[in-house]
């Protein structure tokens, strides 16, 4: 690439009409004309569609003709086309970071339709701010780190097994680490799985056979991860057998634990008629096809109570080990309970079943049919409020039923099944070792629920299954597949490009005051050079939040691409008169 550092900044400004999306409200000609007069702006144009081939070609020609060496395009949201135009600059042999995308559509023309004058003034100021920012932009280079083509999958339940298979299917070596002595996790506990009704053992058998037949997968049973170092593309894990494993990325598929009801909650542990859904499923699995007999008594009538250990309320429910209640919905338990109810009724259609719920959540494909089947089979649903839970009596359950105008309804019950929720498994050690973000409900947190649903904000970490949130088998498999594809893309080349938006130190200005060191949440991201006493940044570990920048008195620290100078100049441009 040509070195533009020594060149005088010559900025090209392009105002997009976006059909009429922008130009119907904003006077694009006036914006372009005003910008043309602005310092450092060499050319200023407006065009119907900047993102079209012709629009991009215009930019390339201007750059190649030497008319400009930095570009500002005022158009739609950068989320739509920032990357498009970065590639345009690359094609014109210009550093792609010498480009600023100004949003005058979603945040101007579309929201100020009634005020053409005001919107036009705003667009002028925003474009000027873009000019000021790009004027102060350095030629950033994306950070490149080596990519070790090896995936570490932690947790050998169905999600981990699927993640391992999918990663290996894309040609990556995989080590599947499982702390117990067998693969399969909770799949071993189930009889049939919804919505397909397939035998869990059959699914498990298929997964195991495939793993055995895949030479790229190494399974390490009775193994845990005890030490962790490195960064994306270059992790090194110490396993419990003291071996060290190099991995480019890691998939966390550590699974879940069932919530155990609090002591005495719904008489659990005191009354032998009270059990939990997982225990009932286990019982049914070991007595396949037989009518329900509990403690020697043939069951004629039974009650299910939902939301035990889920959707808890402070002050109403006993807190968990960490002092907080489980206020989240475990969401898979409703369908699991109804699926079990249907299985019971297939054997004993005459058994009376009462389902006491707070809300029924049969959200997935094929789940509603499970509810409908139970309902048509005569299961009586009773709804209670969180502050009036059902009462366990000697031969019945008394429910203050919302559906019956809060009247008390007494349902006979030889067996009471507590539909318990799902909680995070034992991942505390991994969390502190890997510095994983944990959400308020103790599950591992993705970078963004919609835009990056299986990625952790920490580069190179991916989530599959119940360690992230309660999921059923279908969702776990989908998450495992998604995580594997993400990793396949990440490790597809020999190096991994990272956004250059990380902190950097101007050694000349750094006084070695150490204020930044305590401000950083990421171990090793910023550190003090022992000889020069000045701060240094490990670009691979820095997440680019900028926390250190704010406390740097001499302004030696800056976030590349988002410097305080740039931001202040933008504010000035926004404040200035048109």
């Amino acid at each position: 690439m040509t070195d533009h550092k020594t060149e005088t900044p010559k900025i090209g400004v392009y105002i997009c009409h976006c059909g009429g999306n922008i130009s119907d409200t904003i006077d694009v000609k006036r914006v372009a004309a005003t910008l043309a007069e602005y310092p450092n702006v060499e050319i200023s144009r407006e065009y119907p569609f900047m993102c079209s081939d012709a629009g991009q070609k215009m930019v390339i020609e201007d750059i190649q003709a030497g008319r400009n060496n930095r570009v500002v395009i005022a158009a739609c949201s950068p989320m739509l086309h920032e990357l498009t135009f970065r590639k345009t600059l690359e094609r014109a042999d210009l550093n792609p970071y010498l480009y600023e995308h100004v949003n005058i559509r979603e945040q101007a023309s579309w929201v100020h339709k009634a005020d053409h004058e005001g919107a036009t003034d705003k667009a002028i100021r925003l474009a000027r701010a873009g000019v000021e920012k790009i004027l102060r932009q350095d030629e950033l280079e994306s950070i490149q780190v080596d990519a070790t083509k090896h995936v570490l999958v932690i947790g050998g339940g169905p999600a981990g097994m699927k993640a391992a298979l999918d990663s290996a299917g894309r040609g990556l070596r995989v080590t599947l680490v499982e702390k117990s002595d067998r693969l399969g996790g909770h799949l071993h506990d189930l009889d049939t799985v919804y919505p397909s009704g397939l035998k869990a053992s059959k699914i498990l058998g298929r997964l195991l056979n495939k793993i055995k037949a895949t030479p790229l997968i190494t399974v390490a049973l009775n193994t845990t991860v005890t030490g962790w170092e490195g960064f994306v593309g270059n992790f090194s894990a110490t396993l419990s057998d003291q071996s060290v494993l190099k991995a480019g990325a890691v998939i966390l598929s550590t699974g879940y634990d069932h919530v155990i009801p609090a002591d005495g909650e719904y008489e659990y542990g005191k009354d032998p008629r009270v059990t939990t859904l997982p225990q009932l499923i286990e019982h049914m699995k070991s007595h396949a096809g037989q009518p329900l007999v509990w403690h020697g008594k043939a069951i004629k009538s039974m009650a299910f109570i939902h939301c035990v250990g889920s959707r808890q309320k402070e002050g109403v429910h006993a807190p968990q080990a960490d002092g907080k209640v489980n206020d989240y919905c475990s969401r898979v338990c409703c369908t699991a309970a109804l699926h079990t109810i249907n299985a019971i009724q297939e054997i004993q259609p005459e058994l009376n079943i009462y389902d006491c719920y707070r809300d029924i959540r049969t959200y997935g494909r094929g789940h509603e049919e499970i509810y409908t089947k139970a309902s048509k089979n005569g299961v009586v649903f009773l709804r209670f409020n969180e502050d009036a839970p059902p009462e366990i009596k000697s031969a019945s359950v008394v429910v203050k039923d919302v559906l019956t105008w809060n009247q008390e309804v007494e349902v006979p019950a030889d067996l009471v099944v507590l539909v318990t929720g799902i909680k995070q498994g034992a991942v505390d050690e991994l969390v502190s070792m890997m510095k994983l973000p944990v959400s308020a409900d103790r599950f591992l947190q993705e970078a963004h629920p919609k835009l990056r649903p299986v990625e952790v904000a920490n580069n190179g970490f991916y989530l599959a299954g119940n360690c992230q949130a309660p999921m059923d088998l279908v969702e776990s498999a989908a998450a495992a597949g998604a995580a594997s594809s993400k990793i396949a893309a990440l490790l597809s080349k020999d190096y991994i490009p990272l956004d250059p938006y990380v902190a950097r130190v101007d050694a000349d200005k750094c006084t070695g005051c150490e204020a930044c060191l305590t401000e950083c949440s990421y171990t090793g991201a910023i550190f003090q050079n022992p000889t020069t006493r000045k701060a240094e940044v490990n670009a691979a570990l820095c997440k680019g939040c900028g926390a250190c920048v704010a406390v740097c008195e001499p302004r030696a620290l800056d976030l590349a691409g988002w410097s305080i100078d740039q931001m202040e100049a933008m504010v000035d441009a926004m404040a200035a008169e048109v």
């Binding site: 339709k113 009634a114 308020a440 835009l451 900028g546 202040e568 504010v571």
Partner: protein, 136 residues
């Protein structure tokens, strides 16, 4: 929603500091819904507002901005420990504002998610009221 604020004589500008992860997308969502608000509002996009030193806010007021709304990602924040630090910093900015005689309601720290249309509009509405008060 008062969409004529900018045309009122002497009405001041509002700076909306938004995050890439959350509130910037939230502002786009408002646009996609064609909800209307006044153009005296300027959106600044950053990875995380925690990067701004106290001086940045005071300087922005000096440059003539009537109000600043920091639209953070709140619990959606992808950066570890950033929100408590930001919150503490804003506390210090309030202290400095009081010392300089700047009304503290001109700066607000709030949370706007990627689809929080109503929250976004409400924050602007509230700050417009504050800003009108300064102009009067």
């Amino acid at each position: 929603m008062d969409i004529t604020a900018s045309t009122e004589a002497g009405s001041k500008k509002i700076l909306l500091i938004t995050t890439i992860a959350s509130s910037y997308t939230g502002a786009n969502t408002v646009g996609q819904a064609r909800a209307q608000y006044a153009p005296n509002t300027y959106i600044l996009r950053v990875p995380d507002p925690v990067m701004f030193p106290e001086s940045f806010y005071l300087r922005t007021f000096e440059k003539g901005f009537g109000g600043i709304v920091i639209m953070s990602s709140g619990s959606d924040c992808p950066y570890e420990g950033a929100y408590p630090r930001l919150s503490a910093r804003v506390g210090r900015v309030y202290q400095l504002m009081r010392e300089k005689g700047i009304a503290t309601n001109r700066l607000k720290l709030t949370t706007v998610c990627t689809v929080c249309k109503h929250a976004f509009l409400k924050e602007i509405d509230d700050m417009q009221t504050v800003v009108r008060g300064i102009a009067a």
